[in-house]
């Protein structure tokens, strides 16, 4: 490799060939398959890549190295040659020479570079480029340039630089206004300030989250044949927030791998662990859950090592790593660390977290605040309470402590209805009644069985209820059931036909009361308590209002349900707030708003006025004593309770309880059903000889990965950041820092960045700021043929980066240029335009229903990601299907990509948007062209460019002028509304289409 050879001169060229750069690659190609780290396939007990083993093997002669057996066997013409002809291509003469020189110099073997922790490298002494650096990292780049005899390029123009920085930091181009402001900023720190603004943009998090999603194999479906929808976008939003808040990368790591195990883990910490719930689950009939659970854990091992440490573990699943010092036991030791979670390829993706998104949380807080502000006002309107008389239990509210349950109880809210509802209900008494709705021939009921204010039966107590049956939808049966802590629910009375199975008919457990009452008006029902086995002294704490639907279903209203002739003191809570508080105190305020619960805990004399008022409100709410303001309070309160219950259920990691932990065994050749020896959890000793501290669990593993002592994590992360900015990592193989990966082009630069990253507290924003404000980054990306020949891939960084944007950015940028982009952050995935028929799926199909404007113009990050039918244009631009961790998207350049940007309706719509903006910019063609070009490229068009575009415009106008009908059809293709002058608009859309397809627009330069 050119750069490697150039930069290897960090250490002066000596006689001894470099083990890592020169010797090891030869051995890896020809020898290590049989004489490497894997004992299973090792021949002749000879291992060549370990100094101790090599010297012990006897193939080297200490006294006369040049007569060593090792050299003898590789000489051409040896009767029993190495490598054997059937095993490998023969060694080249130059390779033999290298091996001879290596043996002559003592056959030294170094540890692999990346398995040793980075130390801050000494900066090279610069000669001619001493004034060039703006950041410490530039010194290391300049050192490489001086050694290669190259000079850095001039800085890019400010306009180009802003576009580059904007695309790099937030995946969107600068708006024309941002560009104007930047170019007009006279400050010498204008660029630094612009970088800070971009880092502070909330789109920064979206852009960088996108890259992380590839590593995390994030998708909105769960994979395999069914590939059903999986709600895991709350985790995607967590990643966006983490980047935006610049959560230090070590914390970012620990939370995703083991957030659930942190002391005092918050819901947010647990949500972060969904990282590893992006594994696929198979819910096809007849599949073996354990097989796919094992596949998921294997994927977690591979993904963890690749994403954080650039170590490829996959091969050690079946046998010792052929090249890196990782044994199969090492593999399963890591596997054991990740093998103790509850998830097990279940169709429901359990365990899950009911997560309240920050948006939902904010909504609930707004409602609570609104309610608080109204408290005083409502109470001032409320009537005096000493006039209240009631015997009912269920009337305007439920008794204290009662928890509503049943089919009719959505979100744990009792189904009250009053005259303000649609349709309005005229209650029997007070302001509201409860409603019950049954489906045809089905039971429906609502009930409670945990009232804190219980009732004691007297000898002549009567169960009383008022009922009104809807004549449109009469049920076949209605039933009242009473709950006693001693006898349960075995106290029932029913009217109409006998349906259901509870209790024995014709007994107090199921006592018939004759025909259904007449429909259409309130009817009083009355049963002696004794008749349903509630003799004097029985304590009652619950009641159920039930019905069985008729052929059309059933609708029944209930009101004023309770007992007569009971001890009046049982109803003190309806007249006396302190009795109410006392009753509720026994059940910790069950059913109250959390704020009221809190107030209840405080001694009455120590409560704030606010707390006192809130309890008063809640009491009055329960007994229906809020007067005219009652409905307002009830609806505000209901909305708040509902908002607080709004959550999204998302799969997360949860550790198995101690007594259910799995035993981990080596799986022979990786086969899930062929276990061998048991292994203990741990990490490969080659990466950390000290091992993990106890307890050796997932959290210890995560902390080790995120520790400054880990030789790889910081290097791998800074390399990924570098790759994103410069198009290729300092280590090209960002997925593999092992011995089979490429060596770093400039290890001093990489190590400097890694050490610096840790010094900066693992702050990615801080490191990105240093890189973006470096002289290296600011260089112009123009290249002359000489430099191109010398360094075609820009490994030496004598110029700025220039490469095609990724799939999401190309799309987002087109929408932004066309003025269509909806900048909304977070939330469920969206369904932008997609051709008919591309979403055929066999099972669990659903359909691709296009999102309305707005959502369909959200950033590509939010596009619904189905693994078995990914969004076509993303895939065409090399996005992976997200089945496995992908470190690096290979950038291809194909005609199918041209067809997307030319013809995909999303891009046509963007071209239409751009056309509209050009037309609105001026009345003059020339200014319109200038504005459009600037919007698309971030710079002013040259005279030649403008004349080419003018000529195109003329052509387009003349084509459409003769065919206005075609113009109209074309506008329709671009989803443009009607226009007064369709030919003119169509011509400008053609112009917009060309601008969006410019090479300069599709690349970052």
């Amino acid at each position: 490799m050119l750069a490697a050879a150039l930069l290897a001169t960090c250490t002066p060229l000596a006689e001894a060939p470099d083990w890592a750069r020169e010797v090891r690659p030869i051995l890896a190609t020809h020898c290590l398959r049989c004489h490497g780290a894997d004992p299973e396939t090792r021949e002749a007990d000879l291992r060549l890549d370990d100094a101790t083993a090599l010297w012990a093997s006897g193939v080297l002669d200490r006294d006369d190295p040049m007569s060593s057996l090792l050299l003898e066997r590789i000489e051409p013409g040896h009767g029993d040659p190495m490598p054997p002809v059937e095993a490998s291509d023969p060694l080249e003469q130059s390779e033999i020479d290298t091996l001879r020189a290596w043996v002559a110099a003592g056959a030294g073997i170094d540890d692999h570079w990346s398995f040793k922790s980075p130390v801050a490298p000494a900066p090279p002494m610069l000669e001619s480029l001493g004034n060039w650096p703006k950041q410490p990292l530039d010194v290391f780049v300049a050192g490489g340039l001086e050694r290669a005899g190259l000079r850095p390029s001039d800085p890019a123009s400010p306009a180009r630089l802003l576009r580059r920085a904007s695309l790099d930091l937030r995946g969107l181009p600068p708006s024309p206004e941002e560009l104007d402001r930047f170019l007009a900023d006279p400050s010498p720190r204008a660029y630094e300030d612009a970088v800070d603004r971009l880092l502070a943009s909330s789109h920064y998090g979206e852009h960088w989250a996108g890259r992380w999603l590839d590593l995390a194999r994030y998708a909105d479906t769960n994979g395999y044949e069914q590939d059903g929808t999986r709600t895991i976008w709350p985790w995607r939003d967590w990643v966006i927030r983490a980047f935006n808040e610049d959560l230090p990368f070590n914390d970012f790591t620990i939370r995703q791998l083991a957030g659930d195990l942190l002391p005092d883990a918050t819901d947010e910490d647990v949500l972060a662990t969904a990282f590893h719930r992006n594994t696929m689950t198979n819910s096809e009939g007849g599949t073996r859950d354990e097989e796919f659970r094992v596949a998921a854990v294997v994927d977690r091992v591979n993904t963890t090592y690749e994403a954080w440490m650039g170590v490829t573990m996959a091969c050690a699943q079946c046998h010792a790593h052929k090249y890196d010092p990782i044994s199969q036991e090492d593999y399963y030791a890591s596997y054991a660390l990740l093998n103790q979670t509850q998830d097990a390829d279940r169709p429901d993706d359990n365990p899950r977290l009911d997560w309240q998104t920050p948006e939902q949380g904010r909504h609930a807080r707004t409602l609570a605040e609104a309610l608080r502000e109204k408290t005083q006002e409502i109470l001032e309107q409320a009537p005096r309470t000493d006039s209240l008389v009631s015997i009912a239990w269920i009337d305007e509210g439920l008794p204290p402590g009662a928890t509503p349950q049943g089919e009719d109880v959505p979100d744990a809210r009792w189904p009250w209805r009053g005259e303000a509802d649609t349709p309005p209900v005229k209650p029997h008494s007070g302001r509201r009644a409860s409603v019950s709705e049954a489906k045809a021939d089905s039971f429906a009921q609502h009930f409670f069985e945990d009232a804190a204010a219980t009732i004691r039966m007297q000898a002549d107590s009567r169960l009383v209820a008022h009922v009104r049956i809807d004549p449109e939808r009469p049920p076949k049966m209605i039933m009242l059931q009473v709950h006693a802590p001693t006898g349960g629910w075995e106290h029932r009375a029913y009217w109409g036909q006998n349906h259901g199975t509870w209790g024995v008919d014709q007994t107090p457990a199921r006592l018939p009361q004759g025909e259904l009452p007449p429909a259409g008006s309130w009817v009083r029902l009355e049963i002696p308590a004794k008749a349903i086995d509630l003799p004097a002294g029985t304590i009652v704490d619950g009641i159920a209002l039930s019905q069985f639907g008729g052929p059309e279903g059933g609708r029944v209203w209930w009101d004023a349900v309770g007992f007569e002739r009971v001890d009046a003191s049982d109803h003190d809570w309806q007249r006396d707030r302190s009795a109410w508080e006392e009753a509720l105190g026994t059940v910790n305020g069950r059913g109250l708003l959390p704020e009221a619960k809190e107030a209840l805990q405080v001694a009455a004399e120590q409560r704030s006025q606010q707390q006192d008022q809130l309890l008063e409100l809640e009491w009055r709410h329960q007994i229906g004593a809020l007067g005219d303001a009652g409905d307002e309070y009830t609806s505000a309160r209901d909305a708040l309770v509902a908002a607080r219950m709004q959550t999204v259920s998302t799969p997360v990691m949860r550790a198995l309880p101690e007594d259910q932990r799995r035993t981990t065994k080596v799986l022979v050749r990786g086969a899930w059903n062929d276990p061998a020896d048991e292994v203990r959890p741990g990490i490969p000793s080659a990466l950390n000889p000290r091992g993990l501290p106890a307890p050796t669990d997932r959290l210890a593993f995560a902390r080790w990965i995120a520790s400054p002592d880990n030789p790889l994590t910081a290097r791998v992360r800074v390399n990924r950041l570098w790759e994103s900015l410069f198009g290729r990592g300092i280590v090209l193989t960002s997925e593999d820092f092992g011995t089979q990966g490429e060596l770093p082009g400039n290890q001093a630069l990489l190590d400097h960045l890694a050490v610096r990253f840790i010094e900066l507290g693992w702050s990615q924003k801080a490191l990105l700021r240093e890189i973006l404000t470096s002289a290296t980054y600011r260089q112009d990306s123009a290249v002359d043929p000489k430099l191109l020949e010398r360094d075609p891939n820009n490994e030496l960084l004598a110029r700025g980066a220039r490469f095609r944007l990724d799939a999401e950015t190309i799309r987002d940028q087109a929408l932004a240029i066309g003025g269509l982009l909806d900048p909304t952050l977070h939330g469920p995935p969206v369904f932008p335009a997609q051709p008919e028929g591309t979403w055929q799926v066999v099972y669990n199909g659903g359909s691709w229903t296009e999102s309305p404007a707005g959502d369909r113009h959200r950033r590509g990050l939010y596009t619904f990601w189905r693994r078995t039918a990914p969004y076509p244009s993303m895939i065409t631009f090399d996005a992976p299907s997200r089945e496995f961790c992908v470190s690096r998207r290979i950038r291809t350049n194909t005609p199918l990509q041209a067809l997307v940007v030319l013809n995909d309706p999303v891009y046509l719509e963007a071209a239409g948007g751009l056309a509209g903006l050009m037309l609105a910019a001026s009345d003059e063609d020339e200014q319109r062209i200038t504005a459009g070009f600037r919007r698309a490229t971030g710079r002013d068009a040259t005279t030649r460019e403008r004349s080419t575009l003018r000529a195109l415009l003329a052509n387009a106008r003349s084509r459409f002028a003769t065919e206005p009908d075609q113009a109209r059809i074309f506008l329709d293709s671009c989803r443009m509304p009607e226009s007064d002058d369709p030919s003119e608009l169509a011509a400008w859309i053609v112009m917009g289409n060309v601008l969006l397809n410019l090479d300069e627009v599709l690349v970052k330069s």
Binding site: Y224, M280, P792, T838, D878, N893, A898, N903, P905, D972
Partner: protein, 477 residues
């Protein structure tokens, strides 16, 4: 129009080519570019290991898996067991997807007759296929280890039952490129109304560059996504737009000196040509009435017959790998829509004639010699009647231990039967062919040693056949 390469950029050509080829690999992009730059060879190091017998493949997949007992593997002994509980050994240690309890044996209701000079026995459901019997290499001893559709299909095409590996067609185009720079190298055609169970992953390129994924050619709308200009845009104006675009991009290239810009210019030109060549290739109405009749094809419609004819047109134009999926072969017998008395004859009527016509047509055009045709499902079916929930319709459950397929052309024996199953058609008794063996053999016919045809990913050299498989010499002509 060819893009004009500015003089001062001529010196970039050497670097340019190297950079393009390393970045693009083979396939439409790489091949096209190679030719633009006067390069004739393949873009990859992975040139064939030996001279290929097959230059292209048409894979006909009957998704859901046809019953071998009723089509390709006659088992007259089953008649003696008609309706009787099957012998114990067929149940132990079997797992079934749907069969419960002790099932009864289901003999085939269809007669078999010897066909052609070779006398291969074929079902009466495949009368047309008999006319090309002497071209067929019927394999009765294929086995898999997956008994659900999606994993079995993935296993068949990618060598692994799980998602994420490249499909056979991707391997082929990665290794060989395409012979036609104006068409994708790997085309997928779907009939029967649904994509296969495993979705588009069965033609995914996995870790190979995405340019090698199968391109689905659709029967409605654009044959290839976005290949058609938007309605209302005059074709001449598209040409003028691309001319303007090329000029602007060349100015950009002069200023920035990035050879990738020239590659992009070339790709846009290629796209423009594809816009013409794709509709041309997919225009079945150009075929003679006799040909349409022979296939039973119906221009403008959507059918397996149309896809067979389309496959011939595509390979004729140099497409490397054409993959057909036909839905509706999962004959469990839960109703007339999936039984072997109504549904199976229906599927056979839809496919028998076009498959026979395809083989005869390729032969007549001199293409069969170096075009490999494969017909298969993803696994076999049971000798027993499934009788799910007491169904009175006849059908068979999934069976991974043996199934039948046939191949033709492309270096395989004609008029040949390979392998044998037991008298119940449940176990292989001679010459088993595993899925990886089948893949190794297909790769062999394409000129590759499957063990050396590898791609590095996640630290491993991956290959289509994982770590298994051997070429089956008995299949080779």
């Amino acid at each position: 129009m060819n893009p004009r390469v500015p003089d001062q950029l001529a010196s970039m050509n050497e670097v340019t080519r190297r950079q393009f080829l390393s970045r693009i690999g083979a396939g439409i992009g790489g091949m096209a570019l190679a030719s633009m730059l006067g390069e004739n060879g393949l873009a990859l190091d992975e040139t064939p290991h030996h001279p290929p017998r097959a230059k292209r493949v048409i894979y006909l997949h009957m998704a859901g898996s046809p019953p071998h007992h009723d089509l390709l593997d006659p088992k007259p002994k089953l008649a003696e067991w008609d309706g009787k509980a099957c012998p114990e050994h067929l149940l132990d240690p079997e797992r079934f997807a749907f069969i419960k309890g002790h099932p009864t044996v289901l003999p085939s209701p269809y007669a078999f007759t010897r066909q052609g000079e070779s006398g291969i026995e074929l079902s009466e459901l495949l009368p047309h296929l008999g006319s090309v019997a002497d071209k067929l290499c019927v394999v009765r001893s294929v086995h898999t280890d997956q008994f659900n559709h999606a994993p079995a299909q993935l296993f068949l095409y990618t060598g692994s039952p799980r998602l994420g590996r490249p499909s056979m067609g991707s391997w082929a185009t990665w290794g060989l490129g395409s012979e036609n720079q104006n068409l994708p190298g790997y085309v997928v055609l779907v009939s029967g109304g649904k994509v296969p169970s495993a979705g588009k992953s069965v033609w995914g390129s996995g870790f190979l560059p995405s340019v090698h994924q199968g391109v689905q050619c659709r029967s409605t709308g654009d044959p290839i996504l976005y290949v058609g200009d938007p309605a209302g845009l005059p074709r001449e104006l598209r040409r003028e737009s691309l001319d303007a675009l090329s000029r602007l991009n060349e100015m950009q290239c002069e200023r920035m000196g990035d050879p990738e810009t020239l590659a992009r210019v070339a790709q846009y030109e290629l796209a423009f040509r594809m816009q013409m060549s794709v509709p041309e290739a997919t225009e079945l109405a150009e075929e003679s009435p006799a040909t349409l009749e022979a296939y039973g094809a119906n221009p403008g419609g959507s059918s397996f017959a149309n896809n067979c004819l389309l496959a011939r047109r595509l390979v004729e134009r140099g497409v490397r790998f054409v993959q057909l999926f036909d839905w509706g072969w999962d004959t469990h017998g839960t109703g007339p829509h999936d039984d072997i008395m109504t549904q199976l004859p229906l599927k056979c009527r839809e496919t028998d004639r076009p498959v026979a016509a395809l083989i005869a047509d390729l032969e007549q055009r001199g293409l069969l010699e170096d075009t490999l045709v494969v017909w298969s499902g993803e696994f076999g079916r049971t000798a027993m009647n499934e009788k799910r929930n007491g169904s009175t319709f006849l059908g068979r459950d999934h069976h991974p231990h043996c199934f039948s397929l046939f191949m033709a052309g492309g270096g395989v024996k004609g008029g040949h039967v390979h392998g044998e199953t037991c008298e119940f058609g449940a176990e292989i008794v001679r010459d088993p062919v595993g899925i990886h063996d089948l893949q190794a053999t297909i790769m062999h016919l394409l000129g590759f040693n499957h063990e050396k045809f590898t791609y590095p990913f996640q630290g491993r050299d991956f290959r289509l056949t994982d770590v298994h498989g051997s070429v089956v010499p008995g299949l080779l002509a």
